[in-house]
């Protein structure tokens, strides 16, 4: 069947195009504008070409932040995805306890980012924090303020506490959509618990898992507020992730050109890695 071709139909897309232009493209273009020019205030701009991009790509400071960022996201995904699946598998399927668990799981998601940071900042303090003080009393040498490993552990545990619920809830929704007949057939076929997971639950969760992985990757890759509140990027630069570094550069040092180039590269890296995840995870489905 031939599809009718009518180029005037493009006019129907125009309103959306305008909307996207104002909400996304134009702001992005101002960043592009800054990234290829130098400015000294008073709205004087000088053409800088790709200098800022070269500077950013060659900067050891930014490379180190990128390395920390990749490590952080990798750890977050490696913990939160399996843990979320595990929690979802063990949540009650119906009844009052199912509702109870759902509410309980949703609670961390409802707390504002900076409040989460503050909670853990206080919780982990050695002098007054419940966690920090208890650990100290137990004779464990824990101090996130001056120990880089402790700072990392604190930030990771905080993120796991904050966001595993999201993965669990998504997986739970995926599991709930599996008809009972699948489980019954598996029992008839004498499939082990592992095989039920491997051949029924995991394939049926694939769609939601893709969303969970993408959301958790993008979010953890852009993390700012919580580590900023807890450690302020320290000790030293130990927990200075990309966005913290970017803010330091743009707002702290007012290096608008390099910061703009940094932003664009940052954006492209997220886009690229998300694309890779998407391609790999949907390829299996075909």
């Amino acid at each position: 069947m031939d599809k009718p071709v009518n180029n005037r139909a493009w006019f129907l897309v125009l309103p959306v195009l305008l909307l996207v232009a104002f909400s996304a493209v134009l702001p992005l273009m101002t960043v592009v504008n800054y990234s290829v020019q130098d400015t000294f205030g008073g709205n004087q701009f000088f053409w800088a070409g790709l200098d800022w991009f070269e500077e950013v790509l060659e900067s050891d400071r930014i490379r180190a932040a990128l390395g920390r960022q990749i490590l952080f996201s990798a750890i977050i995904l490696a913990i939160e995805i399996p843990l979320g699946i595990f929690v979802a598998l063990n949540m009650p399927k119906k009844g009052i306890w199912a509702s109870f668990c759902l509410v309980l799981m949703a609670l961390p998601l409802l707390i504002p980012w900076n409040v989460v940071g503050t909670i853990w900042q206080v919780f982990g303090r050695v002098d007054i924090g419940l966690l920090g003080h208890t650990l100290k009393q137990l004779g464990i040498n824990y101090n996130y303020v001056n120990d880089a490993i402790d700072a990392w552990i604190t930030v990771i545990v905080m993120d796991v506490w904050h966001w595993t619920s999201l993965v669990a809830l998504l997986c739970y929704a995926g599991l709930q959509s599996i008809p009972d007949a699948y489980y019954q057939a598996a029992r008839i076929d004498q499939a082990s618990r592992w095989k039920v997971f491997r051949y029924i639950e995991l394939p049926k969760m694939q769609g939601v898992l893709l969303i969970a992985v993408l959301l958790r990757f993008m979010d953890s890759f852009m993390i700012y507020t919580e580590p900023f509140v807890v450690t302020g990027g320290g000790p030293g630069n130990a927990t200075t992730f990309l966005s913290i570094d970017l803010v330091k550069m743009a707002v702290g040092q007012f290096d608008l050109g390099p910061a703009a180039a940094f932003s664009l590269i940052y954006f492209l890296v997220i886009l690229l890695i998300s694309f890779v995840f998407y391609t790999v995870m949907t390829k299996e489905a075909k």
Partner: protein
């Protein structure tokens, strides 16, 4: 191969059933003989699937026992009962190929690989899927998927019984006929006990040697298709089997005479005085049109020609009445009466058939 016995079996989905309606299955005793082809027939929600799931062990009954031969399996899990079951909607393992799907139950039982391969090939031929054995199961159409489910049900040769829960619902009509014939054929060749749940009487009557009719959580009759047609034990059987079903008329019985809608007709047997809701049941096949004062007053409303016979729909008094006439037979212009064949009429009290000789003996 196993004889399956249900002893005082009852089930309720509620934790503390008190009322009669709380029971999805009312207490029943039933034996499924080894190697029988059974159909479990009934309207939706009558408890067929519940009964099937209890036999396969997916549900544990609230009370009563299930015996496989003489072994009590009531508390045994599905895996230990060695039963195959095919569900109403196709269940395939999406990420596996058709071949892996068919091999799955055998692999789980630890069968050697060469035997699995041979068996899978055989079953694939049976369900006509040899050509697509290495395709991914998820891309197939619904009826191909259901054929895989059927194949998985039949792949184990040593099962105690194969249970089918309305397995052909999603299959195209012409494929239905073919698959049903194949199932029947398999039954003849391998002699598995098969229980086939359906709400379609044609499916039940063509598949089974024995049809078990359920209504409202009860087994109301179990018998050959012929017995269900000739002597329905319950008005539901009369109404559910046959097309159209049995006609039921409120009657007063006085010995061997029935008083219906102001007229009287003679019966083949005498009855002792009956109390309760008394009805006379007669199948549309055993009625003839008449005139004058014979039989019962009848008004014709509509005539449907369904090819090799005609269905005449009308009323006796306030009650609906259907008559089946052979195609060749004329409808007389003055047809205002209807004459039942007394030998084919049954008397029902509160929906259950009254056996006249037994009553006579009792009296």
């Amino acid at each position: 191969m196993t004889r399956i016995t249900l002893e005082n079996l009852a089930h309720s989905y509620l934790p503390r059933p008190s009322h009669d309606d709380d029971w999805a299955l009312k207490p029943m005793n039933l034996t499924w003989e080894d190697g029988g082809a059974y159909a479990l027939l009934g309207a939706s929600g009558c408890g067929k699937s519940t009964l099937l799931n209890i036999i396969s062990g997916l549900l544990v009954p609230s009370s009563g026992r299930i015996l496989f031969n003489d072994r009590d399996v009531t508390g045994l899990p599905t895996a230990e009962r060695n039963i195959a079951q095919v569900f109403q909607f196709p269940v395939v393992y999406d990420t596996m190929s058709v071949r892996e799907n068919l091999a799955f139950p055998l692999k789980n039982r630890g069968m050697p690989a060469d035997q699995i391969a041979a068996r899978v090939d055989e079953v694939a031929r049976m369900i006509g899927m040899t050509a697509v054995l290495d395709h991914r199961a998820r891309r197939l159409t619904a009826d191909s998927k259901q054929k895989i489910s059927l194949g998985r049900g039949m792949v184990r040769q040593d099962v105690n019984a194969i249970l089918f829960d309305e397995p052909l619902t999603v299959i195209d009509p012409h494929m239905k006929w073919e698959l049903r014939t194949q199932l029947k054929d398999l039954h003849r060749r391998f002699g598995h006990t098969m229980i086939y749940v359906t709400h379609d009487q044609t499916e039940a009557l063509t598949f089974a040697d024995q049809v078990v009719v359920m209504h409202d959580g009860r087994v109301v009759q179990s018998g050959t298709p012929q017995a269900l047609f000739d002597a329905p034990e319950h008005t539901f059987v009369g109404y559910f089997i046959g097309s159209p079903g049995m006609n039921l008329l409120d009657a007063q019985i006085d010995g061997a005479t029935a008083h219906i809608a102001g007229a009287q007709i003679g019966l083949a047997h005498g009855y002792a005085p009956l109390s309760g809701k008394v009805q006379l049941g007669i199948r549309p096949e055993f009625l003839r049109l008449g005139s004058g004062t014979e039989g019962l007053p009848f008004t014709i409303h509509r005539i449907e020609d369904v090819g090799h016979h005609r269905i005449i729909r009308g009323k006796v008094g306030d009650a609906d009445m259907n008559v089946i006439l052979p195609e060749a037979q004329e409808i007389p212009a003055d047809a205002s009466r209807i004459v039942p064949d007394p030998g084919r009429a049954h008397i029902y009290v509160d929906d259950w058939r009254v056996d006249p000789p037994a009553r006579e003996r009792a009296a």
